[in-house]
């Protein structure tokens, strides 16, 4: 591990199919460009996949043809990626797993973890705090996946004991347009809605437009999630409809890539587990979570 030794780092992430993964793509690309410029001896292979099968193929290709020394992977889904990533680790490569843990413990050298349970819990707690007397809320869920399940379960668990009633729950697929339409229908269906857990900033934007269209801005507020630039701006500005946000920063991929690169450019032994917490963003701390250059 001397400074001049060549090293190739493979980065495998999901394709930019919605806002958050778009952010992941951006931060990954940015970290790679920056590291490449700083350390000419480092080489990177970036592959994006639209489904788990393709991601496994990408990793196989990196092993067979690019001779990678390390792999940074944000698994599309935990389960299908477990065995293939294990094969990479077994071949003696350095493995960094990001966000979604693998189904078997002890495969990776480094784990940069997002915490979906915390994401749901923090969101739920905010609702309890904002609505001490209870009320009626609707929930928009993401694409049916384990991530979404973990978030929603934690959210529901943390609401237990309060008088907050979830009157409607539908999948908005982390998609603005879909969320807009679902919210329109929620608004037709429920004459009384006190708040919306959009569970994602992309969906929150769709929800807000639908609420505005119905002229019911004063009746309800919306909590999104992930820390999109535009939403943080609104929080900062004290928008009543957007009282807060919960982070789930796509920049965790950049952290993971930098940490992995460090292993090859410095002698620092990198291993272990870094949990990127989900934090509640309020007007008070909004500045800390505001990245004006990010596309997300």
């Amino acid at each position: 591990q001397d400074k001049d030794a060549k090293a190739t780092i493979g980065v495998s992430i999901p394709a930019a199919t919605h806002g958050w993964t778009g952010g992941v793509n951006f931060h990954a690309q940015e970290a790679i460009d920056e590291l490449k410029a700083a350390y000419p001896n480092l080489d990177f292979v970036l592959a994006t996949a639209g489904d788990p099968g393709k991601q496994v193929s990408d990793i196989e290709d990196m092993m067979a043809t690019r001779n990678i020394d390390a792999l940074v992977v944000l698994p599309f889904e935990s389960d299908p990626l477990t065995s293939p990533v294990k094969r990479v680790a077994d071949a003696g490569k350095f493995v960094t797993v990001v966000d979604r843990g693998l189904s078997q413990p002890g495969i990776q050298d480094l784990y940069v973890a997002g915490d979906n349970t915390a994401f749901g819990r923090v969101s739920g707690e905010f609702f309890k705090e904002k609505m001490p007397d209870g009320g009626k809320i609707v929930v928009l869920r993401g694409i049916p996946t384990t991530i979404d399940n973990e978030r929603v379960e934690a959210f529901q668990a943390s609401l237990e004991g309060s008088n907050i009633e979830i009157v409607g729950m539908e999948h908005g697929d982390w998609n603005r347009d879909k969320a807009f339409e679902v919210m329109q229908d929620f608004l037709s269906k429920h004459s009384e809605i006190d708040a919306v857990w959009a569970s994602d900033d992309d969906m929150a934007l769709g929800v807000i437009e639908a609420v505005k269209q119905a002229g019911r801005e004063s009746e309800m507020w919306v909590l999104g999630g992930a820390g999109m630039k535009q939403m943080i701006e609104r929080v900062k500005a004290g928008d009543t409809m957007v009282p807060a946000d919960v982070t789930y920063p796509p920049s965790m991929i950049a952290t993971a890539i930098r940490l992995t690169a460090d292993r090859f450019v410095s002698r620092a032994p990198m291993a272990g587990r870094f949990v990127i917490d989900s934090v509640l963003v309020t007007p008070e701390n909004a500045d800390e979570h505001y990245y004006p250059d990010s596309p997300f």
Partner: protein, 332 residues
């Protein structure tokens, strides 16, 4: 001879009636279902929502009706729309310093969107006619190309329209005339013009002839390639019109914009009674098909009869039933 001529038309009117009534029956069944499940279903607000959001797919599906009638297919419409939306937003944002933040800018942006739509349609059309490549392959290719380009333009994220400009542009989706939302008006106009063009113009006749038997069309001195190219350009223009209405809705474009619209448009066209292999098209049927698809979503959202996981299954079953309803009639 004369006796025959007297009897025939009657028989025909009867047969046609049943065929015509098919998609309408399916629509009626859905409306009754919706009414029985939720009393807000027929409220002005809900009806406006359903129709206004059908408008994008609807306008595109009118184009798809022509494309399918000539025996073609356009899989690229959804990502073309995303691409157009992206470029339009970039154009609008960059015009603000030059043309200001008013209607002038917006009209220029709209014009750019429509022109680009024509251009995109031209690209598809020229590859299909001059390149002699199957429409399926060409538009599958351009699907990937347009989608990729918008992701690239947005750097993987979302392209957002300037907030001030958005306020000016907003009424194009949210506003209306005499209480009817603009998208509904535009959709209705496009559908009516489309139906007239299909039924009453030489171009419409030529489309049907080409889809029915290309050789016969060629031997009847129809410029097959020219009509075909025009049809893909028409499709592009209509995608442009849909996009012009789409941009003010959320003011953004990203990789998720217009995803799977192509499938929805084709499904609407076929539910409406147009023949997938070409030769016969029915624009009003497409309109009914679009509304049916849109209603299915709406009804599923308005009720919680089933696990949301099963929405897709219910949708699938209703689509099949809607078609059974009309085919059953036809066979009767």
């Amino acid at each position: 001879m004369s006796a025959e001529a007297k009897v025939e038309p009657q028989r025909r009117r009867f047969a046609v009636d049943l065929h015509v009534i098919g998609p309408l029956l399916a629509l009626l069944a859905l409306v009754i279902l919706g009414m029985s499940l939720n009393d807000q279903f027929l409220s002005a607000g809900n009806v406006t929502n359903v129709l206004a959001r059908s408008a994008f797919i609807g306008v595109i599906a009118v184009g798809a009706t022509f494309v399918i009638t000539i025996g073609g297919l356009d899989l690229s419409v959804g990502s073309m729309s995303a691409f157009l939306a992206g470029v339009t937003i970039i154009v609008l944002n960059s015009l603000i310093p030059i043309a200001g933040g008013g209607w002038g800018t917006i009209i220029l942006g709209m014009a750019a969107c429509l022109l680009l739509g024509l251009g995109a349609g031209f690209l598809n059309g020229i590859l299909i006619t001059k390149g002699r490549i199957e429409a399926f392959i060409v538009t599958l290719g351009t699907l990937g190309i347009f989608r990729s380009l918008v992701v690239w333009l947005a750097d993987g994220g979302t392209l957002s329209l300037d907030f001030n400009l958005r306020e000016v542009y907003r009424p194009v989706y949210y506003g209306g005339l005499a209480g009817i939302a603009w998208p509904i008006i535009v959709f209705a106009l496009v559908a009516i013009i489309g139906e007239i063009v299909m039924r009453r113009t030489a171009y419409g006749r030529h489309c049907a002839a080409i889809g029915s038997n290309e050789q016969v069309a060629r031997y009847s001195a129809i410029h097959v390639d020219r009509v075909r190219l025009a049809t893909y350009m028409l499709q592009g223009l209509l995608v442009g019109i849909a996009t012009v209405m789409y941009v003010p809705r959320l003011g953004s474009a990203s990789s998720t914009t217009g995803i799977l619209w192509e499938l929805e448009a084709i499904a609407a066209v076929i539910i409406g009674g147009t023949v997938l292999k070409g030769g016969f098209g029915r624009v009003w049927g497409t309109v009914v098909g679009v509304v049916i698809l849109s209603l299915i979503d709406n009804i599923l959202n308005l009720t919680d009869l089933v696990s949301p996981y099963l929405n897709g299954a219910i949708q699938g079953v209703i689509i099949i039933l809607a078609v059974v309803l009309q085919r059953g009639r036809k066979g009767a």
